[in-house]
Symmetry: C2
Subunit: 241 residues, 2 copies
């Protein structure tokens, strides 16, 4: 019944390489039953399960995700999921926590320093941080999305809405200072989040890539960051700025 603790999450902050951290590396591709002794590595097993689960949950959400599918991707037995995470819900919560950790951490770090900056500058900093985080882990937006729609946020411990609060605070200051045009900070915050995150939601669908460009390639991600920032800044600034 003793199940592994899940606190050891490495902080990958804005490195140059993207999805590598989240890539699934099956432990044993084809176990040669005869003499290949079982590899016993608790950490590695948990990591590989978490990575596979993240992928599965990002696509299907909690309910539609299949533990068998997760196990299949990892190369470890299905029962390992239950050994380490108790049940599907436990695994889901671990995935949720792990995939949000980086973003929450980055925004929290930023939050205090933002108040001393001009609203336009603060907004740009916020956007860069947000966009680089989700570019590093493009599965995050769909995970958030499934959680919001399917489960109506019941697995969120009122943590992630700090992000919106941070954004709203910047917007309110900008309106007050006259740098931003008249707008409702609540509505605008949602629209800005939509501008930044929707891209990743569509990414799975739009593989028709008009000019053969995949939405999650490094080049396209960088372009999205630029376009989303430009669009947002232009969208909130006062015409005469």
């Amino acid at each position: 019944m003793i199940r592994g603790e899940l606190e050891e999450r490495k902080k990958v902050i804005l490195t140059d390489k993207f999805v590598d951290f989240y890539k699934i590396v099956p432990r044993a591709a084809k176990p040669d039953k005869s003499n290949t002794k079982q590899v016993r590595d608790a950490e590695a097993t948990q990591a590989v399960i978490l990575a596979a689960a993240e992928e599965e949950f990002a696509i299907h959400g909690l309910t539609a995700a299949r533990t068998e599918a997760i196990a299949a991707k990892t190369g470890v037995a299905k029962s390992m999921i239950y050994y380490y995470f108790k049940d599907k819900e436990g695994l889901y919560q671990a995935v949720l926590e792990r995939s949000h950790a980086n973003l929450l951490h980055v925004i929290q770090q930023l939050d205090s320093s933002l108040e001393h900056l001009a609203p336009e500058v603060a907004l740009e900093k916020f956007l860069v941080a947000l966009l680089e985080c989700v570019s590093q882990n493009p599965k995050l937006p769909t995970i958030m999305f499934h959680e919001a729609v399917q489960n109506q946020g019941k697995y969120y411990s009122s943590s992630s809405l700090n992000i919106d609060k941070t954004l709203m605070a910047i917007l309110d200051r900008g309106v007050a200072s006259g740098a931003f045009r008249q707008l409702d900070s609540f509505q605008a915050a949602i629209n800005i989040m939509g501008t930044c995150l929707f891209y990743f939601i569509g990414a799975g669908n739009i593989q028709q890539h008009p000019q053969g460009r995949r939405l999650l390639s490094k080049a396209m991600l960088e372009q999205h960051i630029q376009e989303a920032i430009a669009f947002t800044l232009a969208g909130v600034k006062k015409p005469g700025f």
Copy 2:
């Protein structure tokens, strides 16, 4: 094996009342077994199933949706679903078709007249049409979203991407005419769709309504339409316009 045809979809175009058309009215709340004869009305039964299914699919998507849950909401027997729609997938496709019909129709109507208008005007017309459509049926964005993420658009018969093409055409014209700033129309189109639609995705989650305001109330929807249009127009227009 003969199952009902599903072509009779009423065109509800920009009326004043919102979700009423999609409201589920259970056929028989508590069937008094003794003398209450069964109500036989094929059209009504199908309609009530479709409405309930739309709600269920909007929240859960195809895989996680439960036919039992759909039946429960309607008050008709579960087997009626299979009688009229063959199986869960058939019902799903019917729902998909019905919920997209109005939007596709509206955009298609608009498409031809748009070319003769100035890009800024065309864009605003497009946005109004899009936003009013989804405000009438707030479930549509989450349905699209589930379909895109879970099923990677396999049930879309390359129909709905005409919407994006229409939008991209407007943007390209605006850039060419100098009315819009330099931008990538593909990226910008996604970001604009995000601005318009993300609101509805978050709607289920954000019921914490800061000042007690529900996101799908008429007042809030109208505000969203205004804010999304203002944000988008400001976001694409050339600074000196």
